[in-house]
Symmetry: C2
């Protein structure tokens, strides 16, 4: 449905408002003074009736239903892929534009997959917008690990053409939702209460010992031996960089190993980058210092580098340990290390930034 | 001093017996029934007089002094680089062979740097041995991250020539000694006792928040931006593989990013390998299954892969997530993930295996 006028204060719905990302949607919308006409908070029947404060008012959570999106201009979804698959198309049919945090539509043709610092124009190119002439549609929020990586790597790619990325992640509990964060805390208490620390009881979310331990990311394993999280970093990056239609040899070669570590809410990534054109360490540092959404934390004198705890609750992706890869010709390789809040820039903040593009 | 007869039960000293690795020396020597004639336990004056049980007897710790090594055939050192530098040459002059766990002599000319599964012959080539004709000398135990990496990568290198390694580590507290492990535990208790979990008081070892956090490895930063731990993985590997005299282009290209994670005593490493000759995933898995000191933990059906907790207290290095690097031509790249006990194979066990080679 094409709009005939721009919206200054859209009617906004949040689907999955009780989750970790849902709660962060509210915090980020408030912080950024996002203009909201009417606010509709949606969740499962179990949470319906609960009250939530926003903007000085009390809002009552409603059950997410097929007709929830009548009269809603913009919906932020973070209620899992199943809910997105079932309800996002209904919302779009009702004239609502959906920003979806799940993986359900990320790779779908015609659905823009957007990191605002990287490919903001993908939304307008798809014709989606709340302004005049815009149509309703789905805009997908990329996977958290992809977002954090691309905010940092994109300015380097624009300058020197990234030929290859080898990524190893250090991912926080929050990627598994609020229950996963509680599980890590509870397991850690149990582990400290018991000598040896091997026997923990709270395993409902991950099914394994997480306290003082780490493990291969819990996303489903694919026949090629990669897990889905790893392949998301590969495929989503190719889509965002518009390399998905290129022959394989012309795409950036990307491989990733994704690991869950006992950290609460910020992911870290160790990235090894190879370039097609010369990019030296100092130039990379200057590009990153000027890049939107990035803060360089790289003080060798005081050995101050990014940490998940420092990145937690903050908007920018921290990058440091920027150095020439000594195993590659000068100018052709860099190593770096980044940390970013998984719930904020990895999910809610990126979605709200997309919303800002939609009403611009 | 060259020996005229083989030693069946050498007189053994342990320097630094009160540390985490020192204690593990005793455990591993006992488990492996290492033949010991006389056992001398050495530590700083502070610990002298303390009693330690070994082999059904009580031993009194003596202060480490210049004349401590008179009549000692073999000494295991793990008391820090300063102690090694001061006392290991004195021990050698007294006819004692030293297996040194510090970094003091690793890169020194004429000092073999040995992973018994990789380059056991380096000891005999240096003429060092407790058997007939052997001379006393220093044998260096490599850095823990290097040992764990090479036990896994060496059989693949032997088969297909490893051209390049990109390593990212997930390193346990134990690398900082027993005090670091206590600090992680104590900080975690403090963090759980306080809302928010940011303020912790116990920072004597690392000087930063470690509970539910991770940080760039604390070894000194070098002018090129690498920390020493990372460069150890590069330079020690080149020495062990006898590539240190080769021109740079002929060596295996190695880069590493070393990160300390809140795990107690086993390190993990994410490795991306490129080969000069074809090596496919199935062949790599077969080579690793047959490799000494390695256990393949790679069950995709049950998603059972290496974890630090499973590797803790065990001898072999666990390797899993073995898969073709999809960003490289088939046969030319693999990703894998390993875990190994930092105190055992990363330190004490490797040293005792060297001792076994010396008396063989």
């Amino acid at each position: 449905m094409a709009r005939t006028h721009a919206l200054e204060s859209p009617s906004v719905a949040i689907a999955g408002v009780t989750g970790a990302v849902g709660q962060e949607f509210l915090a980020v919308l408030a912080e950024r003074n996002f203009p909201i006409g009417r606010l509709k908070l949606l969740a499962s029947a179990r949470s319906a009736g609960r009250e939530v404060a926003y903007g000085g008012k009390t809002h009552t959570i409603e059950e997410l239903k097929e007709d929830s999106f009548e009269g809603v201009d913009l919906a932020l979804f973070s209620a899992g892929g199943g809910v997105s698959k079932a309800f996002a198309p209904l919302a779009v049919d009702a004239g609502c534009t959906v920003i979806d945090n799940s993986s359900a539509f990320r790779m779908a043709e015609g659905v823009p997959l957007v990191v605002p610092e990287v490919n903001p124009d993908a939304i307008a190119q798809a014709g989606i917008g709340l302004g005049a002439g815009g149509r309703s549609g789905i805009v997908a929020n990329p996977n958290c690990s992809t977002i954090l990586m691309l905010v940092v790597v994109h300015p380097l790619h624009a300058a020197a053409g990234v030929e290859r990325i080898v990524a190893s992640t250090y991912q926080a509990a929050s990627g598994g939702g609020a229950a996963a964060m509680s599980e890590l805390e509870q397991q850690t208490r149990e582990s400290l209460d018991e000598a040896g620390g091997r026997e923990v009881r709270s395993k409902a979310v991950f099914g394994r010992t997480y306290a003082f331990n780490l493990f291969s990311h819990n996303s489903p394993l694919q026949p090629n031996g990669y897990n889905q999280e790893e392949l998301k970093m590969v495929h989503e990056t190719h889509k965002i960089w518009r390399q998905d239609a290129l022959p394989e040899a012309a795409r950036t070669g990307i491989t990733a190993t994704c690991i869950r570590v006992p950290v609460m809410r910020a992911h870290a990534e160790s990235l090894n980058l190879a370039f097609t054109r010369d990019l030296h360490e100092d130039e990379a540092r200057e590009l990153l210092a000027a890049a939107p959404g990035v803060v360089v934390v790289d003080d060798r004198a005081t050995e101050t580098f990014p940490t998940p705890l420092d990145a937690s609750g903050t908007d920018p992706v921290q990058v440091g340990r920027i150095r020439r890869d000594l195993s590659r010709p000068a100018g052709r390789g860099l190593d770096l290390f980044l940390c970013g809040d998984q719930i904020r820039k990895g999910a809610a903040l990126n979605a709200v930034q997309i919303a800002e593009l939609l009403i611009a």
